[in-house]
């Protein structure tokens, strides 16, 4: 629970409780066991969610509600709360809450973890479970007027979704003409220059100051989860993760699916492929962070800032490398279960030297960004001590990635829950203690340098890799059919934070439930905490510093 500077030895000291100890802790709250591949799972009564979560949080130290998901079975509904520890994410526990088939009601976990708010709204929206005590149980992704819950079993997808005119009546009309108050309601978005996509912020202003802001999402909902559920594990899902966070973080997203599916189907990935994956993923991270820097400069500097073009320029260089490696600039589709699709491009020497050239010029570029952006007094005035996100709040909302690390939360799955080749390489987790917009930017800029270190080491390894051991793919059956009713939740550190995939297999070659835990979704939820009381420009800056991608928020 400590927020101090990175200290890996400390994280190892978190006492791990055995599943039986946990069961004893929860006592009579537990009615059954339903273990997942990644964690012990306890089935509890639908009215004991808060009690269970708060016991696990306060007494066993599970302070990170990573994911809330829900699904419908033939005979019941089920909500699952995946808990982790910020200090050691390998310690996981799942809380399974069955709900009645005819009247699916279960208690909300919002009182214990604020992040449950949006996650439960999504579960309500898509599956149809109602959450008692939820502060604001409305649809979140679909329009208010939507009929039915699309991921429930009895959903009639042929039913026309017709919204009548009265339903379309301006719901804000009353606010509009409130003569009593001297506040102003302002819609920022969905079409606004600074919302980074189709995001709608319902803001209430007092002069220029924001007294309330509520993000309204769902404009870019593309049924990504359902699309994954209708694709085969082996081939058809992999092209789509690129399209969740489409800001060039494709390989990081692909890794999330690859990691979950490989663990589900018990596939070993050759070491050589892991090194290539690690290198490609870090290139994506640089590309993503460069865009984050570029757009943040756009938000703070104004729309003719040179920083934007310079950062895009650097991003292009990484994308050229990624194009050589994967064949595309954004939608890579490069990973395969059990490895990657292509070895490094021939001639290898040329690829290495191109990569090294990029790495060589990167410090100069970063220096330039520091001159342009972070050293600029006006920029500091604008970003330091604005958009404050205290670490406790960040944890409570399940914020991860640079957003959490900018608040001093030392949490990085690459180190804390190692995958790929990260644990063999020398690099550091970057944290900043400022908790403000400036720190979040600084974290990203420093992470670019760390990524460059990782790429450099990978290049060294790949260069010396013996030719006969260059195995890029494991032997994987053409059709994967994981055992019925196996469940897994696995996460990787994507550019924006913890990107997790929950999958339930039902014995066929397609997942029965595919849930994406999007880092942007959780991070965006913290916006009101940062923005309330600030000026409009600071809200825009805070939004920019969250670095959301609406494709991943809405999925």
């Amino acid at each position: 629970m400590s927020l101090e500077a990175p200290d890996t030895t400390e994280t190892d000291e978190v006492p791990e409780r055995t599943p039986d100890e946990l069961e004893a802790l929860l006592g009579d709250l537990v009615i059954d066991r339903d273990d997942h591949l990644n964690a012990p799972g306890f089935v509890i009564r639908p009215d004991a969610v808060q009690e269970t979560l708060s016991r696990l949080k306060s007494e066993a130290g599970y302070d990170h509600l990573s994911l809330v998901t829900a699904q419908e079975y033939e005979n019941r509904y089920e909500s699952i709360y995946h808990l982790k520890k910020f200090d050691d994410p390998t310690q996981e526990v799942s809380v399974v809450v069955p709900a009645d088939k005819d009247d699916p009601v279960s208690e909300s976990g919002d009182a214990v973890f604020r992040t449950a708010d949006w996650h439960e709204r999504e579960a309500y929206d898509l599956i149809g479970i109602e959450y008692d005590d939820h502060p604001d149980l409305r649809r979140i992704l679909l329009p208010e007027t939507w009929q039915g819950h699309p991921l429930s079993m009895d959903y009639d997808k042929d039913r026309p979704q017709i919204a009548t005119l009265p339903e379309h009546a301006n719901p804000l009309e009353d606010h509009h003409h409130d003569s009593e108050s001297d506040t102003m309601f302002l819609n920022i978005g969905p079409h606004h220059p600074a919302t980074h996509g189709v995001l709608h912020l319902k803001t209430i202003l007092d002069g220029e100051q924001v007294i309330d802001v509520e993000p309204d999402i769902g404009y870019l909902h593309r049924c990504e989860e359902q699309m994954a559920q209708s694709g085969t594990y082996r081939h058809q899902i992999m092209p789509y993760p690129d399209r969740w966070d489409y800001i060039s973080a494709g390989l990081l997203n692909e890794w999330a699916y690859a990691r979950a599916a490989e663990d589900l189907a018990d596939i070993e990935v050759p070491e050589y492929a892991q090194v290539i994956r690690t290198m490609g993923a870090e290139m994506c991270r640089i590309a993503a962070h460069m865009l984050a820097l570029a757009t943040f400069a756009l938000d703070v500097n104004g729309d003719f800032t040179a920083t934007f073009m310079y950062a895009i320029n650097d991003r292009e260089r990484v994308q050229d490398l990624l194009e050589d490696l994967t064949g595309q600039r954004l939608m890579f589709n490069y990973f395969r279960l059990g490895g990657v699709v292509w070895d490094l491009p021939e001639p290898r020497g040329e690829f290495f030297s191109k990569t090294r050239d990029f790495l060589d010029q990167l410090p100069g570029s970063v220096e330039e960004y520091h001159d342009l952006v972070t050293a600029n007094e006006i920029f500091q005035m604008r970003t330091i001590d604005t958009g404050i996100l205290p670490p406790e709040v960040a944890k409570n909302y399940g914020a991860t990635g640079p957003v959490a690390r900018g608040s001093g939360v030392d949490y990085d799955l690459r180190r804390d829950d190692p995958y790929g080749y990260y644990d063999e390489l020398e690099w550091d987790v970057v944290t900043e203690d400022g908790c403000d917009n400036y720190s979040r930017l600084l974290v990203r800029m420093r992470e670019v340098e760390e990524s460059a270190k990782i790429i450099e080491q990978c290049i060294d390894l790949l260069e010396d890799w013996p030719e006969e051991e260059r195995n890029i793919q494991a032997n994987v059956p053409r059709t994967l059919r994981p055992d019925d009713d196996t469940e897994i939740y696995r996460a990787v550190e994507a550019a924006k934070g913890e990107l997790g995939i929950y999958m339930r297999a039902d014995g066929t070659d397609k997942p029965a439930r595919f849930k994406i835990r999007s880092p942007c979704f959780s991070n965006l939820q913290t916006l009101p905490e940062m923005a309330n009381g600030e000026y409009i420009p600071d809200v825009i800056a805070a939004l920019g510093s969250l670095d959301i991608v609406l494709g991943e928020v809405d999925r």
């Binding site: 058809q236 092209p239 789509y240 399209r243 699709v341 600029n376 032997n475």
Partner: protein, 153 residues
């Protein structure tokens, strides 16, 4: 003030060195990597109508029509709907479908992007480069031997 000066100096440095990053497309068309995935090229001579590409396609972009002898009649591909994942090329056992590097295609309506086999055959190589060479070495890696029977759906 020093920070402000630094910012101004940095931008001026870029302005004065006179180099540009953007190019004058289309006169100065970019080189794309040999692995780049663009519009498909289809060869009816090679195709054995096994329909694996149709099956593997994640979003039903490929449509194959066969007669009752399982001879191929039509091969349609909606290049506007395609997500360019290259799975069709990967599964093809005879290299009958390939993704060229050609990314330049326009049409007045989406319907015109439904290419039939003739149109697919006539897709030009981008800058005359046949990408097969650069992709061939990895072909074996894709299928894998696996356990159990080979499953052609």
């Amino acid at each position: 003030m020093i920070g402000l000066m630094k910012s101004m100096a940095t931008t001026m440095k870029h302005a004065l060195d006179g180099s540009t990053f953007t190019v004058e497309y289309p006169e100065d068309a970019p080189d794309v990597s040999p692995r780049f995935r663009g519009v498909h090229k289809f060869s009816q001579e090679r195709c054995i109508w096994c329909r694996q590409c149709e099956n593997v396609c994640p979003n039903d972009t490929i449509q194959i029509v066969q007669d009752d002898q399982r001879n191929g009649e039509q091969y349609n591909l909606h290049i506007g709907q395609c997500i360019y994942c290259r799975l069709c090329e990967e599964v093809c056992p005879v290299d009958a479908i390939l993704l060229t590097q050609n990314f330049e295609f326009t049409a007045d309506s989406k319907d015109e992007f439904v290419y039939n086999k003739e149109q697919l055959k006539n897709v030009p190589w981008y800058k005359g480069i046949d990408p097969l060479e650069s992709r061939n070495p990895d072909r074996g890696a894709w299928i894998g031997e696996g356990d159990g029977e080979v499953d052609y759906q």
